[in-house]
Amino acid sequence: MKLVISIAGDSLQSPFDARFGRAAAFCLVDSDTGSWTAHANPALEAAGGAGVQAAQCVAGLGAQAVVSGAYGPKAYASLSAAGIAMHLAPGNAPRTGADVLAQFKAGELSQAQAATQDGRH
């Protein structure tokens, strides 16, 4: 399946970025073949509505699921509407996008059932 992981860099080996709307970039991975591409987050320096813009970007990449550390209410509403499953990679331990992908494949990551943080601008 096509999965997006929020990252602070430009490759699957870059550090995982725990924020969704304000993540530096998104890594689009095919979880079956392992092939990936990195995409800058257009919302990184948006004045407001980062969650909406980031969600539109992820939807535009054709992702079926996304892994991040936290989802604001606007991101949650947008991703839900787009039918994209939101997975949570909890904890603060430094790790790479590849580490998170491994966790996802191992079924270690739960799905977000609601926005996990208060609205931010």
């Binding site: 602070a8 304000r22 320096e45 931010r120």
Partner: protein
């Protein structure tokens, strides 16, 4: 784990920047040596640089919002742009329609309305953002050109860059000097903060504005502490702040006395704690800093 601390006030001029500058000095000389990134998020009154004496390493133009521009050669002077503009930004003068770039909100309604496609949106350079090395660590700051809009966007940019720098270099603290008020720039500056310190004034106005900024922080889920500056100007007012905070479950972390040394330090371009460490205000700020640090380091 990197933390973000923001200093706010609600009411302007309560001493936010003087307190932030002193924190930067104390952090640089204490356990957080080399661990701090400083951000001045008060971009339309960016005063921290007057104390931290930054050496600018990098300057970037800041692209603000877009404004509409009318091509007079193809304009039919039909006025439909002015009809749809809700920001009073299109003015008719001498048989021409002109855009007031200061009033234009960048919504592009006129662009979609123009029958001859004579209007385009142009990005505006609205200020500059800087990366500097200051006497107390890296400083991210900016200057909004006078009268420009979008200070929330510039605030976000400054803070974002400071945060990325701290993440990159594994620094422990991003110290943010916030803007006054409770609106867009404050929301932008406080977003993502782990802790806010409100510098309140024991005045009728100060109490009122402190309560409004506390309400804003609660709304966005940012935990807050309060310290009282110029507390001895009106001790009853200081007591009233402490009572109001207690009722709201907000911790007060100290009183700073009115002290002429603060203005002298500002004139000298120094943090008050560096200028005269033994001055009453310096001792009080240092005590506040220790308590704030304890809250920052306490496991959530």
């Amino acid at each position: 784990m990197m933390k973000q601390l923001i200093v706010l006030s609600g009411k302007g001029g309560t001493g936010k920047t003087s307190v932030t500058a002193a924190f930067a000095h104390l952090a640089a000389g204490g356990r957080l040596t080399g661990q701090v990134v400083i951000a001045d998020a008060d971009v339309d009154a960016a005063n921290l640089e007057l104390v931290l004496q930054p050496r600018v390493l990098e300057t970037q133009p800041f692209q603000g919002g877009q404004v509409a521009v009318i091509d007079q050669d193809t304009c039919l002077v039909c006025g439909s742009c002015a009809d749809v503009c809700r920001f009073d930004a299109i003015i008719e003068r001498d048989g021409q329609y002109l855009v007031d770039p200061i009033a234009c909100d960048g919504c592009a309604a006129c662009v979609y309305q123009c029958p001859t496609e004579s209007i385009r949106m142009e990005p505006q350079i609205a200020g500059k953002s800087y990366v500097s090395e200051s006497r107390y660590g890296p400083l991210y700051h900016a200057n909004l050109d006078p009268g420009q809009e979008n200070s929330g966007k510039l605030v976000t940019l400054v803070k974002q860059r400071a945060r990325l720098r701290a993440l990159d270099e594994d620094r422990e603290l991003v110290l943010v000097d916030g803007p006054p008020g409770i609106g867009c720039p404050v929301i932008a500056a406080a977003s993502g903060a782990d802790l806010a310190l409100i510098v309140a004034e024991p005045t009728a106005a100060g109490v009122h504005d402190m309560q409004r900024v506390l309400g804003t922080l609660r709304h966005f889920g940012v935990p807050a502490l309060v310290c009282i500056n110029k507390a001895d100007i009106y001790p009853e007012g200081a007591a009233a702040i402490e009572t109001s905070c207690r009722a709201d479950g907000v911790v007060t972390v100290g009183r700073i006395p009115f002290d002429a040394t603060v203005a002298s330090a500002m004139v000298a371009g120094e943090a008050v704690t560096a200028f005269r460490p033994e001055a009453p205000a310096s001792l009080a700020v240092a005590a506040v800093w220790e308590r704030v640090l304890a809250f920052l380091e306490a496991p959530a």
